[in-house]
Amino acid sequence: MTVSAWQAFWLIVQREMRLSFRRPEQLLQPLVFFLIVTTLFPLGLSLQLSLLRDIAPGVLWVAALLSALLSLDFLFKGDADDGTLEQLALSGHGLTVIVAAKTLAHWLVTGVALVLVSPIVGTALGIPLGAFATMLLSLALGTLTLSWLGAIGAGLTIGLRRGNVLLSLIVLPLATPLLIFGAAATERAITGTSPVGALYFLAALCVFTCTLAPFAAAAALRITLE
């Protein structure tokens, strides 16, 4: 009996989740980085809550982007190194399905975890409780978008020895709209104005990358597989 694309998709998601949980250090590394970087700011700056609140959205978002970037390097590299990527590529399902499943699983274990620990960071940075919902939503949209953008970069750089530096150079400029609108949404929520416009923009970026990035990343991967 043949396997449909959906079944293949979920099987790969399961595979990725299982692999991630067998390697907890890979999961924890970006999270701990996120926590440490963000808590260094209150220590390094004066303890004025108003100042901290002003810079909180920017700090939160820069740290989130950098920590998500840390984990992107592993997205395809492990599979490329041990030859399992070739097995996946020859599974009879398009590379688009494989890339989409791997990227979604990557977000589920790294992006969602980051969103879940962000209230701790938010509290450390003095973000009021009322702004938490916006912060969580914007981070969820932002990290998912970043995973898709990162998949394209990771697909292009797996064959390179110093790929992780190049990956940052490719992905970070593309992620600037996320930083701008993500930080804007959080800031508006802190100041009590409506963050809806910025959130809509983030959601639009997310939909845009969800629909197009799998194809771009599959094309990038095909080039590097050759």
Binding site: M1, L11, R18, L19, D82, G83, T84, E86, G92
Partner: protein
């Protein structure tokens, strides 16, 4: 294009940088036939297998399956393949059984019992629940062979399947190859030594 050829490689040229690795290689393989690819190191044997699998696009020439170019029917064609590269391609953190489940499960629906049966067939039933990272090189090779077996694919592409195996292991590979080919399958095998099999074997010698 010749429809009678199941798998047809026509005048394939591949360059790797400045190196002209495959220089107009042609070959045909029919069901119940095995193509034994040999040649010195660097002659392009692995490259040829990658071209036949569709992982690598040749700069010139074509590969066709049942009269159709594989570039046009890539995913359908790849669903009929079982490819074993010279690395065993196993995830060290997954057990042998999980490795098989996630690889074979993408090709066809398969139960754990069937997977255990193919592990038993290649003599590694006892390794089913061990993480692949603790297995020896020979055991990993056998698990990789169990994966090929479980895929029940029409075309086998095996890159040096005899590496790291003891005498009994080598005999087992030959036996499995023979059963597959006699049963109507096709196989392309890269091997450095003479293959003594009770089935139709064609030779393709590549020169560097």
């Amino acid at each position: 294009m010749n429809m009678s050829n199941a798998l047809c490689v026509e005048k394939v040229h591949v360059w790797r940088g400045d190196r002209h690795v495959l220089q107009g290689v042609s070959a045909q393989v029919q069901p119940q036939e095995l193509l034994h690819i040999s040649g010195p190191n660097g002659a392009g044997k692995t490259t040829l297998l990658r071209v036949v699998s569709g992982l690598l696009r040749p700069e010139q020439g074509s590969v066709s399956w049942l009269g159709q170019s594989i570039a046009a029917i890539r995913t359908d064609y790849q669903a009929t393949l079982a490819y074993a590269s010279h690395e065993p391609a196993l995830k060290g953190d997954l057990t042998a059984l999980e490795n098989l489940r996630f690889a074979v499960g993408l090709k066809r629906r398969i139960t754990a019992d069937e997977l255990r049966a193919s592990l038993a067939r290649t003599g590694v039933a006892a390794c089913a629940d061990l993480p692949a990272r603790v297995l020896s090189a020979g055991q990993r090779r056998r698990v990789a062979m169990a994966r090929v077996l479980a895929m029940s694919a029409k075309v086998w592409l095996l890159d040096e399947p005899y590496t790291n195996l003891d005498a009994a292991g080598s005999e087992l590979i030959s036996e499995l190859l023979q059963t597959h080919v006699v049963g109507g399958g096709l196989a392309l095998v890269v091997a450095h030594h003479e293959l003594k099999l009770g089935c139709q074997v064609r030779r393709l010698e590549l020169n560097s």
